[in-house]
Symmetry: C2
Subunit: 252 residues, 2 copies
């Protein structure tokens, strides 16, 4: 769900009902949230030498139900072959196209503290179709610092650089108190997608998408389940452990 309503009413554009050049077959949110997982599983399988995968196999690798996977793929008009499965390379291409990963998107990172440094040094960006093209901070003692070949710039330059570099995605790694201000700056600069690590709610215009990653929330959800499990363990004796039991890891 995130927190942003995206398109206005999707309503079928009256007029060109012939060529579906315009929009996407409006995929369900739940589906698009799973596509990246499928993609990763496919890359793993491909590196493992597989040419085709069955929905069953891919579903297992992605940790989902196979019917769900088939339905997801059918939504994007995917080309599977009955009796055989899906062509790995083709499916990768398809998903990458739908996700818009064929064009390497420029990302900027704002806030180079603890977390920002880790993110800047993360190779998971480049390996998945993204490129960090600029780093910003408000702290003048940080400006000028070189990280992974990029120089930290002052946030005042964001507007100019964003246009120059055609930045579409901004990542916020500042304290919560500064996040809304930074978001405003990003929006002003024409950035239309924001990934927010600060624990706060951002308000942005309707055409901007925001996704949030919040460590504390994840832990608190886990805490709830711990609490619940503990209250259930009241009766049964101790813990039956059940260690061991795990099959098929993902990677090689």
């Amino acid at each position: 769900m995130s927190q942003q309503r995206h398109g206005s009413t999707p309503g079928n554009a009256p007029g060109d009902r012939a060529g579906a050049v315009t929009a996407f077959p409006d995929l369900p949110e739940a589906t698009i949230a799973r596509l990246p997982e499928y993609l990763r599983a496919l890359h793993n399988l491909g590196e493992g030498g597989a040419d085709t995968v069955s929905s069953e196999g891919l579903a297992a690798a992605a940790g989902v139900n196979s019917a769900k996977l088939r339905k997801d793929l059918s939504h994007l008009g995917s080309y599977g072959t009955r009796g055989v499965g899906y062509d790995v390379a083709l499916l990768i291409e398809q998903i990458e196209y739908v996700l818009g990963l064929d064009q390497r998107r420029a990302v900027c990172l704002v806030g180079l503290g603890n977390l920002g440094h880790a993110l800047a040094g993360y190779d998971g960006f480049a390996s998945r179709g993204f490129k960090i093209v600029a780093l910003f901070d408000a702290d003048v003692s940080k400006v000028g610092e070189e990280i992974q070949g990029l120089t930290v710039r002052h946030i005042e330059d964001l507007g100019r650089v964003a246009v120059e570099e055609n930045i579409a995605i901004g990542v916020i790694a500042t304290p919560a108190g500064a996040a809304q201000t930074v978001a405003d700056v990003l929006v002003d600069a024409g950035v239309t997608s924001i990934l927010n690590f600060a624990p706060c709610v951002l308000s942005v215009p309707a055409n901007v998408d925001v996704r949030k990653v919040d460590l504390a929330i994840e832990l608190q959800i886990l805490s709830f389940h711990e609490h619940r499990k503990a209250s259930l363990t009241a009766l049964p004796g101790g813990r039956s452990a059940t260690a061991a039991g795990n099959q098929e890891a993902v990677g090689s």
Copy 2:
């Protein structure tokens, strides 16, 4: 959704149908995922000096619909007062109890690379009911390093330390290739909740909850929306910008 089915069939425990001491009024997953957000908003409001909040006000601060918020709170039998609103302090207490935050949970962190260092230095743990009590790594050159007052231990010690410190939650910040192995070790040690930062699917016994944080997935979802927005902007002239427009930030 995450990826774990939690309790087996919740089925009302046969026998003590009198006192509802046992489990929780099985809150909807969607609700418990929002409780932490409400909690944070409440803390902000409380620090701002508010004694009570209306569902409207709290919903705005948490970025949700007010009807949804009321229904969520009603699920946990919350005590609001019609015509007035919710008592901030009381509601905080309620939610913290439900989430099991009244008991400070011990967390361990495995993998002290780039990300692990940032997490170890993060104060958002302590301020939200969690305490990192141990750090583990497999790299002997990292073992012994002192971070934020904690010494990095070898992962072989995890089993022993987990019991000693009563660790319930484990955070995995190792490369994907090692994540499943680490998860197995955690499970063996009796850890029943895992937060995984590695981009891979973990398989664990049914009684263990796993939540995943995956940066690349978030970015790819944003990329999809960018792609979609771009395909819609084909017709309309340029961008109407709409910068400015934002109201009420969260914090003070």
